[in-house]
Symmetry: D2
Subunit: 327 residues, 4 copies
């Protein structure tokens, strides 16, 4: 379903090449100062333009169309619209005939019996992360004092990211990437047993971001090779500060007052100009395919701000849940 959150809920809608992409936030408290300019910094970070991202420069201007009055949220659903200026049509018949490897086109068509919007991935497009970023801007306002910050650690396995991307671009290829997110000053006790531990809520949202294929908290996969005496984080003060942070700031599914740390694996963009093989569904014969157009050589470059946004959404909802019985 196209909604997420228990109390602070977001709904997203729209398609890549339809008239717009939209976000509706329900459960947002009244009285939060908010104006359209507040969104621009994070939207800019997500936007194309950096080396290794699509060269086209879309201007993503958010329009607040409900839930805000005289510069403050009203408590009614807060809706933002992003008009699409890029509504090219393409040769979708060709794509349907010879599916692009790694793309959702083929399965989406099966699932929606051919009625899905094929233009630019339709509702499956990465363009919908615009709405996630916007939701994150509002969510961050519900988390005063908490600083959330994500960055790209490596691309294609290389920490010298710029040169790795250059090489991939020359080859008409793309690169995966590793993104780390940290949040400090998160109070202890956020998360819901049994089914909404903090890791579960964050990971649920992280996998809603296109191209994410893995997530790990704290030591993560390295913990599978550890002993308990090495992994256990000793508590060293009465606020629960620990000497190490193998848990990544989450114990028993609840934030534990230490820094929240997790990493996500971003797969390489599937659209590449380098020649690949795919099945022509009509002829039944494998044939060469080179995906034309402008593509991100490393979509992971755009991911950090999106991961910050979903982290903020998750924390804001967990905060409201944790506060629910305190009255």
């Amino acid at each position: 379903m196209n909604s997420f959150g228990r109390i602070f809920r977001m709904h997203i809608f729209g398609e890549s090449h339809g008239p717009l992409v939209g976000l509706c936030l329900d459960g947002c408290p009244p009285g939060i100062a908010l104006k359209e300019e507040d969104f621009l910094a994070d939207l800019d970070r997500r936007r194309a333009g950096a080396r290794g991202t699509t060269p086209r420069v879309e201007t993503d201007h958010p329009e607040i169309v409900s839930g805000c009055f005289e510069g403050h949220t009203t408590g009614a659903p807060l809706t933002l619209l992003f008009t699409n200026r890029n509504m090219r049509s393409g040769d979708y018949a060709a794509l349907a005939r010879t599916p692009r490897p790694g793309h959702a086109d083929f399965v989406a068509s099966k699932r929606f019996r051919g009625f899905n919007d094929p233009r630019g991935g339709g509702h499956f497009s990465g363009r919908l992360t615009l709405a996630l970023v916007a939701a994150g801007v509002v969510a961050k306002k519900l988390l005063p004092g908490i600083r959330i910050s994500a960055r790209l650690l490596s691309a294609g396995g290389h920490s010298d990211i710029a040169s790795a991307i250059d090489r991939a671009m020359k080859e008409g290829d793309s690169l995966g990437g590793l993104v780390e997110c940290r949040a400090d000053n998160v109070p202890a006790g956020w998360g819901e047993p049994f089914f909404d531990p903090a890791e579960a809520v964050i990971s649920h949202l992280a996998f809603a971001v296109p191209a994410i294929k893995g997530i790990e908290f704290g030591s993560g996969f390295a913990a599978a090779a550890m002993k308990g005496s090495r992994h256990n984080d000793p508590i060293i003060n009465r606020e629960g500060k620990t000497a190490s942070n193998n848990a990544g700031g989450i114990s028993g599914g609840l934030t534990n007052g230490n820094e929240l740390v997790f990493r996500v694996a971003v797969k390489p963009t599937s659209s590449i100009s380098k020649e690949q093989q795919s099945l022509n569904l009509e002829s039944g014969i494998m044939e060469p395919l080179s995906v034309k157009g402008r593509h991100d050589a490393c979509i992971a470059l755009r991911v950090p701000v999106v991961i910050e946004a979903i982290t903020a959404m998750a924390l804001a909802d967990l905060k409201l849940m944790a506060a629910r019985g305190e009255g």
Copy 2:
């Protein structure tokens, strides 16, 4: 919250040392043949007894108390109860004074203002995975033809698992583990854009399992170091069969008709008899701590059947969601 699922929903309740652990399944279709014996095989796989797990032998007998009549589900909520036979009390005051490193005790107490049940972890106990396993048994019945199978690949980083566990036990220490789950014959098209892609639903449930700290689908974290030309899986027949399976059977959040493959990282059990340091909250001084009692040296040994169960729950719910508009 203690519920999960859009249509096929499970609710779990109970505490480790309370009278019982329970499972209530809502949205289960009528007419499914079901008897208490059906649960025993999977419950046995989860149960203690194997080398490296707690030596005590609990008998986990499920009692079906609603939703079943004359050997078939009725369509009403299906409830199972597991009586706890192990209701020892312990020195919880001591635990509250010097928190066990890696445990949820400290944060749970903060979150629930000291009212949480401290006995054996209370509602945070791994004993609640009993209910997950039982839910999985029912969910598997909704997935005829699909075979779900998980296994432990390594413990403490060693693929010679038995000897690694032996060594850890001698040291009074514990080991993490790596578990892989595979499901074949999953039809293409299960998963919900935008917020319920198959990875999101599976990972949400996986992180509800105590001790899970990471999950990756298909190539997972290795994809972060790949090029697109290497990661893309070429479609080679009209059913969507791909030559490779870097996607782990999920494209664009929808199952793609190939084998579903994912791995989870299980952290080492935090309760170890080997001496550790922790803060005495009263004196404010770090002091040595050795956790007494019988512990799992490698909780990951018990995890495969639990991961199968949550996979079955996720797939069953996604199946019902995907079928919803077909009438």
Copy 3:
């Protein structure tokens, strides 16, 4: 589905003649003093025994099996079980052949393809209101200072209720009834635009109570025949106190600080010993039917405490919702 509530959620399960009826309350704050005796007064009010209700005296003893430790709620799911002591079997084949007029048997069988539990109405039984009453006891504890009180205004149209019921019993017939519920000291502002106005949440729960066929708030149906100048309630002090209360304490879907007032219509019990006609589904011929056994001549006698309970559940959840953004 068998759950209700946004934050404070109840799940109910069980069948009339199965082993038990159960209640699981999720989202209950920690630290609420609670013991089994707290439930007895309201359970007694619901119980059979009064003139006009089934003469059998069931003892409905609640057993708290999770979510409570040392006399206080823990914040984990609070579960109560009621063992059924009345598990007679009957001639359900006969009932299936000649459906009792007014009963759910026929449609339940259609819906659940014959797999529903037919014994005493199964999951459709009025016995499940036990769980509602128990939920109400807990919900009332979340509403300190608010007094909720319901009573039977008339039975079969007569305000001399006792003699009307006597006459119906002699005829082997049953009577409907009108129940009014009032709650005072409800603060202004509870209710959620757009889809969870206070009337909507209360009515949703009211219609979950078997035999309820109508609900009206304040002047209710009489308002349909009024002019605005007569219906409008003038505000007379700064707290929002109104001179009249045609709105029944709810304006624009939000509680307005005045007394909450609503009435529900309870249909007469469908099981009567007086002879009726029904179709024999095998022969296709109408035939006389007299429903044997002990029946409530006026089920409405038992309804007030149930209506109080659902009102408390609705208000408790709306209170937690209204408080959600105040941190």
Copy 4:
């Protein structure tokens, strides 16, 4: 919250005098033929213009902005926007000072701490029923063969509706009304025990419609004065057809194959030009108030198409729920 539905969900947003009112439908199956013209007939029925409704003629043109491609739904969220052309500002300071009797202004301000949009009722405005009507148009398409039809039975207690409204208009007053809705060809078995019986779902949505203060199914409140022998509907054929229909087509919370019949009570519009008394919150003195502007003398005239719409939404969702386990 601003969402409703288990599988087929609607979200609504917008304010009376903001830029737009919007509807987002999630869970809509793919492949349903849909164009903007399909909405016009029902939107016209809701629109002002008839005698007794606001004379201004708004043009309510729906714009489909997502979820539809080449004339068919895609399975992605279906979003419609209605641009507001009537964005007058008014003297809201005066309204805040002397609240209009019967209006939500006062409690809305309390609930949202003064941040709610006061213009024309903001998010509480009856204008949001536009979105309900639009949702109904789509829902009706999911219910082929079912005819839903509502009409105004009386206004101010008079069945000669036109002349009653004339008199009220001359007096600057308003009238309540009684609306009846019927749906035929509804299959048996729709509705969910325990908390989503058909009456509960329909009533929940009905009370989301501004001005509704009562609902009754079949004989409704009259049933409270009946005997069982009179109220029971005898089944007369194998499809469950009954000789009478006191149940209004719903038995045990499930549709029973007979005509669905219910009535709602609509209170009179609270905005009237006739002089009323209200408290000046600043001076603390009661003072005369006459609400200026164009008002509906009988808002109930616009209600039938809205009630049809919420009935269609309820039935469509219940249909999808009932079908969920049939695969």
